[in-house]
Symmetry: C2
Subunit: 206 residues, 2 copies
């Protein structure tokens, strides 16, 4: 089936409406009735654009939310080429998640999609892209002589992804960004000061 | 209602059976029919021990799983008093989650309990206890002169909790412990080598 420009716009309007609902306070589970009410679409239209029904719609919203996670960190995430840039990125991430609070739209979507094929792939793709951006930043800093060359850029980027992901996860339970803040500081300190071989570092060894 | 020793044993047997099911491969959502089949209990017995029905049972299983998360890290987590002890703890955590793989029983329970009062509290309590153990370990190392005194023990413990939590979260999507491994190394390196003021550390400043 070809899809017209108007059709694409309607489909996107449905996704936007569902996403907006998930960003509201106390959204609960997203139902098709919610989506119809918010977007003013009929049952027939919903199934026209999402023949797979609720799962297909939720998966489309999850993809949209995953893209937003990275878009909300731009332009900082794509240009981590100086220490002030890393600091601005950190501030932007903290501000984003402080504003979001305990309600994580992508997290609640994933809770509703645990047995949906393709759902885990949305998260894997997001994490891989996120890590790739951070890795590129570390490599840019290495090329500029600001981070030691023997630091493993990809592995350190993986640590950033885990730390941020965990800080956001704790936020979902506590409503507080303290943990995200704390792990970010450890990660940034690591970038700035990591010794080339911690196991034999002087001063505080075993 | 008083509950007899036999009653307590039956109740615990139901919780154990439900938990064992969640630890199996591909458990999916836990239903009351699953629990009845696994534990050989009648509907009447289930509602006798869990008058609140499925939510009350799932919440009891979540508490049990949360306790296991910490129990599985003992005796290491409770005695982080030397660098080899920290290393053994790290190895135990990595081994536990490598064995668990992408299937996180506590995570799937929480996905089923998003709107249940008391569910977030189970996670908050777990995180707070976890952080308290790590903090006690850092303070013991400080008292022994092995970690600098101006490192904020509670905040650093919060960073550990976020990092581990995030590594486990990534594992749920990827089936791999690379991220957990990477963030653990950054955190342990931080403990051993963190300068007293990273912003003005020599060598790799802005």
């Amino acid at each position: 089936m070809g899809i017209t420009a108007k059709g694409r716009a309607t489909r996107q309007r449905i996704i936007d409406g569902a996403a907006a609902h998930l960003h509201s306070a106390e959204p609960g589970e997203l139902t098709l009735d919610d989506v119809r009410a918010i977007t003013g679409t009929s049952k027939g239209q919903l199934f026209h654009y999402f023949p797979g029904g609720k799962e297909e719609l939720l998966l489309a919203v999850a993809r949209y939310e995953a893209d937003r996670v990275l878009a909300d960190q731009q332009p900082h995430l794509g240009a981590l080429t100086s220490w002030p840039a890393w600091q601005r990125w950190r501030d932007a991430v903290l501000a984003r998640y402080r504003a979001q609070g305990a309600n994580c739209p992508l997290g609640s979507l994933m809770s509703q999609l645990t047995s949906t094929p393709g759902a885990a792939e949305v998260i894997r793709t997001l994490l891989a892209q996120w890590q790739q951006h951070i890795r590129a930043g570390i490599e840019a800093m290495q090329a500029a002589g600001r981070i030691r060359l023997d630091l493993d850029a990809d592995r350190t980027a993986a640590a950033f992804v885990a730390g941020i992901q965990g800080g956001v996860q704790v936020l979902r339970s506590t409503g507080r960004t303290d943990h995200l803040d704390a792990v970010f500081d450890v990660l940034l300190t690591h970038l700035r000061t990591s010794p080339s071989n911690a196991a034999t570092a002087p001063g505080y060894g075993s």
